[in-house]
């Protein structure tokens, strides 16, 4: 894990001086339930990708391939919106 900086090393007043650094912030730890994909049921309509508020639906070659668990907060919107019921929210327990 990255060593956190001291008060003399950070920008004044809480300014964020680099654009697009939200990606560095791991919000996956906030999650209680995680989405799990049933590939057999998924028809790659990508409605989950449209609705995900955190760009945590991973799409390759126009196909839904899984989730970005580093950033997914487990809100469950993808599961609620999926017309094929291909996404299930399961308790995210330590493995």
């Amino acid at each position: 894990m990255e060593k956190k900086k001291g008060w003399k090393e950070i920008p004044m007043g809480g300014l964020i001086t680099e654009a697009g650094n939200a990606e560095e912030y791991e919000t996956g730890s906030w999650r209680t339930f995680k989405p799990v994909l049933d590939k057999e049921a998924c028809n790659n309509c990508l409605i989950c990708w449209i609705f995900c508020p955190d760009t945590s639906i991973v799409v390759e070659n126009e196909e839904m391939v899984g989730f970005d668990y580093v950033h997914c907060k487990g809100c469950g919107i993808c599961a609620a919106e999926c017309p094929k019921k291909a996404i299930e929210m399961v308790l995210d327990q330590e493995e």
Partner: protein, 398 residues
């Protein structure tokens, strides 16, 4: 640059007019304000300068003081030299944004015309408005008269904008007693003020900086504390920033403004501490008592934040009794704000004086020499007997 001219103009101005005149000479980029008694004439006068084209200021007439301070924060973050003014309940409505202005390190300068906070509703002077914001992160200076209302606004602005400080600053004066009382004020020529405040150099500016950045993002347990530590560092640099600004102001005006001002206090047995217009009354009472052979003195506290604890220990350390008068109650506290902080400042003085507290003048209750003489009389009794009967008393309450 030409040699600063010491040519001054003496004109009769009420406190509000003096502050508005200082704002005119600063010619800030943005002023966002909402009118409230007894600040109203200040903004009315300044709005006339805007309407007459005497300043280049963008005057934002907002719908509330919460919006006024929010607009000031936005303007200052954009890179504008920004000023405003308020009183009492309007000041209270700014509350959450006061902290944001300080934490974003935006050197907004504001006049606060002191007025009692409701309730019961009241429009007259006490310090309950600004004293409540003593932990908001702003520089706080109390002016005694219209002259100081003019001078301190300029000094506070220069100190606030110092890049070692970068904190907002508020300058207070007493509602009606000073805001509506006309006195002869020595103003500086426009060009002297312009040179004194200089061209504004923001530490960051959303509209000017080429590289994009974000202002005011979420800041959790992992970095909030570090940003507050930075803010504390800014306040620790503020005394030096104020001293530098005051020294430069003395060069152009001949007037000297330290964090406190002692009057006949060096050999005094009893020293009264007062802020604002009451300091003028206390100075008169000191003279009366001195004529009676009593060793009385005054320490006027000008800068409340950052609190000049070391200077206070130096100035009051030789007294036998210190009588702290405050125009505000701090409900549930052991005495008023100035009392607790002055008393704390004296804790490590070798032979520390006894300290008593008088709360006076709430809601504009007139506090004349007779009341201050009462407070001094108790101070002399404590000095002679070495015994405090009552730490906190009230002057002029029935």
């Amino acid at each position: 640059m030409a040699k600063p001219s010491l040519a001054t103009t003496k004109i009769p101005l009420a406190g509000n007019e003096a502050a508005a005149y200082a704002m005119k000479q600063v010619n800030p980029d943005v002023v966002a304000a909402y009118p409230i008694t007894p600040q109203t004439e200040l903004m009315q006068t300044f709005a006339q300068y805007v309407a007459d084209g005497e300043v280049d200021t963008a005057l934002i007439t907002v719908e509330s003081e919460h919006s006024a301070m929010s607009a000031c924060v936005g303007a200052a973050a954009a890179g504008a030299r920004t000023m405003t003014a308020t009183s009492a309940n309007g000041f209270a409505l700014m509350w959450e944004v006061l902290y944001i202005a300080a934490s974003l390190r935006l050197p907004i300068t504001m006049t606060v015309v002191n007025r009692a906070l409701s309730g019961p509703i009241n429009i007259h002077c006490d310090h309950s408005d600004s004293m409540g914001a003593r932990d908001a992160g702003w520089i706080q200076m109390y002016a005694e008269n219209p002259q100081e209302a003019y001078d301190l606004l300029l000094v506070a602005l220069k100190a606030a904008e110092n890049h070692d400080v970068l904190l907002p600053a508020m300058v207070m004066y007493d509602g009606f007693i000073i805001s509506h009382t006309m006195e002869i004020v020595e103003t500086l020529p426009d060009e002297v003020v312009r040179d004194y405040v200089g061209a504004y150099k923001p530490a960051y500016a959303l509209l000017l900086d080429e590289k994009p950045f974000t202002v005011g993002p979420l800041d959790f347990h992992d970095y909030y504390f570090e940003h507050k530590r930075q803010e504390i560092e800014g306040t620790e640099h503020a005394p030096a920033g104020l001293a530098q600004a005051a020294a430069e102001y003395e060069k152009v005006s001949g007037r000297r403004y330290g964090p406190l001002e002692s009057y006949r206090a060096d050999d005094a047995d009893v020293v009264m501490v007062a802020l604002g217009s009451t300091a003028g009354t206390a100075r008169y009472v000191v003279d009366v008592l001195r004529e009676q052979g009593k060793a009385a003195g005054l320490m006027k506290l000008r800068t409340f934040r950052p609190f000049p604890h070391a200077e206070i220990a130096e100035a009051l350390g030789n007294a036998k009794c210190v009588v702290v008068c405050d125009r505000v109650a701090s409900f549930g506290a052991f005495g008023s704000p100035t009392f607790t902080e002055v008393r704390s400042a004296l804790y490590e003085v070798p032979e520390r004086p006894l300290v008593i507290n008088y709360i006076y003048g709430l809601g504009g209750r007139d506090t004349g020499p007779d009341l201050l003489e009462q407070a001094f009389a108790e101070g002399f009794r404590v000095a002679e007997t070495g015994k405090i009967e009552q730490h906190v008393g009230y002057l002029g309450v029935r």
